[in-house]
């Protein structure tokens, strides 16, 4: 009975948050509407990383590479295929991120802890250098600009994106991704990942082929990160090498730590918190907002290691 009420409470909360996100573009002014859409996209990227950090215990410092490949994959599809097709862009971005994820997963999962972190970081930098210097294809430093594809489901709807419908589209994709990720983490597969996080030698002794589980975890995570990249590309109509640079990976790790790892929604809250801090501090510190944000982040690592959501959970339980 207790479990039942817990689940009801969960879906109720889920519905309320979803409803709030859905009405947001109708009531918010232009700036904040865009802000909320961006939070959803960055939240999806942070969620994808949470699958690794929070559920498998592997801190990837290279998620910008998957995000970037999603972006550039979508860009290439939108620039080469006439007329530009939304679903093709989505597919291209996912394929791009997926191929990279297979590659990175194969090498990086042989390593543990900080070695995994450094390897993912280095992989993302390799990719950054390639994008930055391969000017003929990627546009080099300037990146690629393209037009927003029209939104169409054959036979049902077709039309161009307005900021509001784009927001709903992003919300739909992110919600679906969240539900899939949640299902994954609650599946037997997800439980094995958590077992690896808790005690790797023991999980191995129980007969699980750890490397395979880790490879699949990195691939799934990379795919969702790529999906976030596609959404970002469609929203902003460009792909730029700055988004592949490892500082973006670092920011995504910050979202996770601020929001609370191992919760899926925590990282989204972390992204929202980060961007709110950025907005707030930009008023006083202009482009140097990372000074106070960095201080807050460092303090949170020391004093609130479970993140905002973990902290709230702890408070509510006690």
């Amino acid at each position: 009975m207790a479990i039942r009420s817990h689940t009801v409470g969960y879906w109720l909360g889920f519905g309320v948050v979803l409803g709030l996100f859905a009405v947001a573009p109708l009531v918010l002014p232009e700036f904040w509407r865009r802000f909320v859409t961006e939070i959803l996209i960055w939240g999806l990227l942070a969620m994808s990383l949470d699958l690794l950090i929070g559920y498998t215990g592997m801190v990837s410092f290279g998620h910008s590479a998957f995000f970037g490949l999603g972006m550039y994959g979508a860009a290439v599809a939108l620039l080469t295929v006439r007329p530009p097709n939304l679903w093709l862009a989505l597919l291209a971005g996912l394929v791009g991120a997926g191929i990279l994820a297979v590659f990175v997963a194969y090498f990086a999962t042989r390593l543990r802890d900080i070695y995994f972190s450094i390897t993912t970081l280095v992989f993302s930098q390799i990719f950054y250098v390639i994008i930055f210097t391969w000017t003929e294809v990627t546009g080099g430093e300037n990146g690629l600009n393209f037009r927003q594809p029209p939104f169409s489901i054959p036979g049902i709807v077709s039309g161009t994106f307005t900021p509001t419908t784009l927001h709903w589209f992003v919300l739909g994709v992110v919600t679906l991704s969240y539900l899939i990720l949640r299902r994954i983490t609650q599946s037997p597969f997800g439980k094995v990942l958590q077992a690896i996080r808790e005690n790797e030698p023991r999980t191995r002794a129980m007969g699980y082929h750890i490397e395979r589980y880790k490879i699949v975890a990195v691939m799934l995570s990379g795919l969702f990160a790529g999906l976030a990249g596609v959404l970002y590309a469609i929203q902003n109509k460009f792909a730029a090498p700055d988004f592949v640079f490892f500082l973006i990976s670092g920011e995504v790790v910050i979202f996770n730590v601020m929001g609370g790892v191992g919760t899926l929604v925590g990282p989204v809250a972390g992204a929202a918190f980060f961007f709110l801090l950025r907005e707030g501090f930009s008023r006083f510190f202009t482009e140097y907002y990372l000074i106070p944000v960095g201080v807050i982040f460092t303090l949170m690592v020391i004093f609130v290691p479970q993140g905002l959501l973990g902290f709230l959970k702890h408070r509510l339980n006690s």
Binding site: I114, T119, Q125, V129, F132, G250, Y288, I291, I302
Partner: protein, 292 residues
């Protein structure tokens, strides 16, 4: 691609590779020292290097004496390192080493943006202490580069002597081997940790000042270097001082050769590939025997 590379070009690149390898070794040995003793992966190391270079230029402008600038920058950044260690890393002692990456990443963001705020986005240059040249084939090779390599070697040599024979050096080695036992023998382990962090910071600052005249100084100069230093430290074997020095020279030489054919920006990929191959086949480092 033909293979007729002129021999003189190859030799020039050898000299270039060794010079930049020594600078890298100076940064990497501080990084590996810090890792060896407290399992801290110091993400802020590149920022300490960058701040060292800035303190160096400021002193140069104020006094005009390069050597004084070198000493003042090292001491200032050593103090900063000690403060950072006490305030942010000491509370993390005993937690997952990954949290130290996060904390030092936070510090690096703060320091980098503070430098941008304080010194502005325009690159600055430190005046070289000597401007002499000697002829290396068709090039006028600056003496200063040779002096840098020698100075870096001297600093690393001094560190090695200190670790081997100095009383505090022995403390450091004892703490690295077994910090509980060291504590039981009366070694003030927390103090040793702070000291090691300060030494590592000072070495980063010194290389910043030495490197300054070769490239412009800007707030982002630590980013490229820290990546390379990470690679070197992993390739050389985490916590292995000799290994990271060899790896620094090895990787810098490879990059110098690679830049004969491709642009320096792409030559970086060579060191990435070395890292990946090392991790796959010799995960404990290239220059240490693989444990059975």
């Amino acid at each position: 691609m033909s293979v007729d590379i002129p021999f003189d070009l190859l030799l020039i690149q050898v000299v270039n590779g060794i010079v930049s390898g020594m600078i890298l070794a100076l940064v990497a040995s501080g990084l590996t020292l810090i890792f060896g003793i407290m399992e801290v992966v110091n993400f802020a190391h590149g920022e300490l290097f960058m701040l060292g270079a800035y303190v160096g230029t400021t002193m140069m402008v104020a006094t005009g004496n390069f050597w004084l600038a070198l000493v003042v920058a090292s001491v200032t950044i050593a103090l900063l390192g000690a403060v950072l260690q006490v305030t942010t890393l000491r509370p993390l002692l005993g937690r997952d080493p990954l949290t130290t990456i996060l904390a030092t990443f936070g510090i690096s963001l703060v320091l980098q943006n503070w430098a941008l705020y304080q010194f502005g986005p325009v690159a600055r240059k430190i005046q070289e202490p000597f401007t002499g040249h000697f002829t290396l084939f068709y090039l006028e090779y600056p003496w200063y580069r040779i002096v840098i390599a020698l100075l870096a070697a001297a600093i690393i040599g001094a560190l090695w002597l200190f670790m081997k024979y100095g009383k505090y050096g022995i403390w450091i080695r004892a703490t690295t081997q077994d910090h509980l036992m060291a504590q039981a023998m009366g070694i003030p382990v927390p103090l040793v940790h702070t000291m090691v962090f300060a030494i590592g910071a000072a070495m980063a600052a010194a290389s910043g000042v030495l490197f300054g005249p070769l490239v412009g100084i800007n707030h982002a100069m630590g980013l490229d270097l820290i990546l390379k230093a990470f690679i070197v430290v992993v390739v050389g074997g985490m916590g292995n001082l000799g290994g990271s020095i060899l790896a620094s020279i090895f990787i810098s030489l490879l990059e110098a050769f690679a830049s004969i054919w491709v642009s320096p920006a792409q030559a970086v990929i060579v060191s990435f590939v070395v890292l990946i191959l090392t991790l796959l086949f010799r995960p404990t480092g290239l220059f240490v025997p693989t444990p059975k």
